[in-house]
């Protein structure tokens, strides 16, 4: 097994371009899409409706900016409309007295995020205003704030899907999504060496040698696992320390999740290879699987924004969904081990099932 494993590294050193390109691609995509100043909040242009006085509008903006999620900028209506229609910004917000409108140029994902945010903030604010109208409630705001600081009763809602308490972290969404997405390529193409060996005939040489068949498989599987694992870990380290992303400090949990995810993808690759046995066909199938899985599983945009029941149902059988859920669970929501155990064990279960079926199917095929 060791010689088979080491051979793959030797071959990788000779022809590293493919794997490296997926590594570099991840960095480029995350780097470009997250912007080079990751500390900055996304800016959103806003303008006041005629029904709203200038100072009222300023109050709204100040209150919206308190949340420190977006940077709302109050601007002149004409300037905003100009920016939207020329495509400088994909959307802007029109502030009304007790409502808002979103002005859209293109329907992109940030719309849902901002809409969800505005909806929450307006409800909160309007409820407070309503209370202020009540007699004897002059000081309701500070009271409410104090109550919030020290509640008599703390109710923590935690759902595994995280929908109720959706927090959008553009940087981490991109980092996790793109890294897991590109790692699918690295892992699948690395494991494809099994199929190539079978085609080229070196597989038969291995079979004729005293090395056991399971050792040959294990050598390949271990190599694909290592290279996929290292790719993900190195990218996370790079963004954490060089680009100042914040994936938190629970490195142990993150390493464990990466390992489980990598295992699941290695196993999935094995299954795919047992079904599609020609290298050229695989060249076509791998991108379809990787992209399809990434789109539905929430690697390109947060799955929390998807409402189509069918897509959600499909996402439940994709390992990338659980990989992202677990990673975000640690880095964004700081979930407990108990909460993380669900996605982690699903990944492991998925891996074991795919591996079992994959190896069986592959062995049944007569060459």
């Amino acid at each position: 097994m060791k010689s088979v494993y080491l051979l793959q590294w030797q071959r990788f050193r000779r022809a590293p371009i493919m794997v490296l390109s997926f590594f570099v691609m991840t960095i480029i995509f995350v780097g470009a899409l997250a912007g080079n100043n990751p500390a900055e909040r996304p800016a959103v242009m806003a303008y006041a409706d005629d029904s709203l006085a200038q100072n009222e509008a300023e109050d709204w903006v100040a209150s919206l900016n308190e949340a420190e999620e977006f940077q709302f900028q109050l601007m002149d209506e004409d300037a905003v409309r100009e920016a939207v229609s020329s495509g400088d910004t994909s959307l802007a917000v029109r502030l009304l007295e007790d409502d808002y409108r979103i002005v859209l140029a293109a329907d992109d994902m940030s719309r849902f995020v901002i809409e969800a945010f505005l909806d929450r903030k307006y409800r909160e604010e309007l409820r407070l205003q309503q209370l202020e109208q009540q007699p004897g409630a002059d000081d309701i705001r500070s009271e409410a704030a104090a109550e919030m600081e020290e509640p008599a009763l703390r109710v923590t809602t935690s759902t595994l899907g995280g929908i109720d308490e959706f927090k959008y972290d553009n940087q981490l969404q991109l980092l996790f999504g793109m890294t897991l997405f590109f790692s699918v390529y690295t892992i699948m193409f690395s494991l494809m060496k099994i199929v190539e060996e079978k085609k080229q005939g070196t597989w038969n040489r291995l079979i004729l040698s005293p090395v056991a068949k399971w050792e040959i498989y294990l050598g390949h599987l271990a190599y694909s696992f290592t290279i996929g694992y290292l790719q993900i870990v190195m990218i996370f380290l790079l963004f954490q320390y060089v680009f100042n992303f914040d994936i938190g400090d629970r490195f142990g949990a993150i390493l464990l999740i990466i390992a489980c995810y990598t295992f699941a993808i290695v196993a999935l690759s094995m299954l795919v290879m047992s079904l599609v046995s020609r290298p050229q066909q695989l060249q076509a199938v791998v991108p379809i699987i990787a992209t399809g899985m990434a789109m539905i599983g929430g690697a390109f945009w947060p799955i929390e924004l998807v409402s189509n029941q069918l897509l959600l149902a499909i996402s439940k059988v994709l390992p990338i969904t659980y990989g992202l859920e677990a990673l975000k669970g640690v880095a964004i929501y700081d979930r407990s081990w108990q909460e993380l155990s669900e996605p982690i064990s699903i990944l492991l279960l998925f891996g074991v099932a795919c591996m079992g079926i994959g190896i069986n199917l592959m062995e049944r095929r007569t060459y």
Binding site: S3, V4, Q10, R11, R14, A15, G201, T202, R205, S209
Partner: protein, 310 residues
């Protein structure tokens, strides 16, 4: 030492090999001849335990290897029809790996590598990447890789397809030496008659999945011993002379060729006298007369009605 009994392989309803029985004694050099698709590679895969026969048996020293292939694998070296090498590595690195999986390490491994490279004459260029080799050099490394563990039996599946004459004669000479001097047992597959004539003591001829003839080269040729071929070279065509030859009773067949006439005669028919008499009557200029003994190629043609290669 090695024998097969009624080997049969059916691929999804298509019979590739049907009832192949053959044996190879220790130190023998046996040829397996047949045109494309005859079932040579399939037979070899079954002998070398890479493919399970649909029915039949493969035995090594009397013991079936189908249930327990490890004995066979230990003594066997297989040179596959395709170039089964890692193209991005050098010849040296390939051999090192194939030696290692046979448990060779350190000095023994290094010696085995250099020895195999010497055999195929690639010591000087061992550090070059296989991808950059010529077809002939790749074929040679392909052979060297099968020699790393010093097998007692070597099975070669068309080891000289598509290579330059120089590499080809190097390979043939090497196999001949290994067999004659080192006593290596050889099963050699080819569709080049002349290679098999040169290398092998005994020959099996396969066609459409069946072994249609077998024996020593002389035995096989004696299949044709009831006939002989006579080539008569002429300065120009003589239709009347040709007509007369066709009418001679003891001439089985007279065929007009580019340079003259080809006669197929029953052996010992003493018909040449009549031919010369006729030539005088027709004032025919005979340039050359050639009585030919049959080659394996003729045997094959006789058995199948087809040429081995087109």
């Amino acid at each position: 030492m090695l024998e097969t009994e009624e080997l049969k392989k059916v691929f999804k309803g298509k019979t590739a090999v049907e009832g192949a029985s053959l044996y190879i004694d220790k130190g023998e050099s046996v040829g397996l001849l047949g045109p494309n698709g005859a079932g040579k590679s399939t037979t070899i895969s079954m002998i070398s335990t890479l493919l399970k026969p649909t029915s039949g048996d493969v035995r090594l020293n009397g013991k079936s290897v189908i249930k327990n292939p490890s004995d066979m694998r230990r003594v066997l070296g297989v040179v596959p029809q395709e170039i089964a090498l890692y193209a991005e590595l050098s010849a040296y690195e390939n051999l090192k790996f194939f030696g290692r999986i046979y448990g060779l390490t350190g000095k023994a491994l290094e010696t085995a590598i250099q020895h195999s490279l010497e055999l195929v004459g690639l010591v000087e260029r061992q550090k070059e990447i296989v991808k950059t080799y010529s077809g002939g050099m790749k074929r040679r490394v392909n052979i060297a890789a099968a020699m790393m563990h010093e097998p007692e039996v070597i099975i070669m599946d068309e080891p000289t397809v598509g290579i330059d004459p120089q590499s080809r004669s190097h390979i043939l000479e090497m196999v001949r030496k290994l067999n004659k001097e080192k006593g290596l047992t050889v099963l050699y597959t080819s569709h080049y008659m002349e290679e098999v004539e040169r290398l092998c003591d005994r020959v099996y001829i396969m066609d459409h999945g069946k072994i249609i003839a077998s024996g020593t080269k002389d035995e096989l040729k004696s299949i044709l011993s009831s006939e002989e071929t006579v080539w008569i070279e002429l300065d120009r065509p003589y239709p009347a002379f040709f007509k007369e030859l066709q009418s001679i009773e003891s001439i089985k067949q007279a065929i007009e060729t580019e340079k003259g006439i080809k006669l197929i005669l029953p052996k010992g028919s003493r018909v040449l006298g009549k031919v010369f008499q006729a030539s005088e009557r027709h004032h025919v200029q005979i340039i050359n007369v050639n009585v030919q003994t049959p080659s394996l190629e003729d045997v094959f043609l006789h058995l199948t009605g087809r040429k081995l290669r087109d």
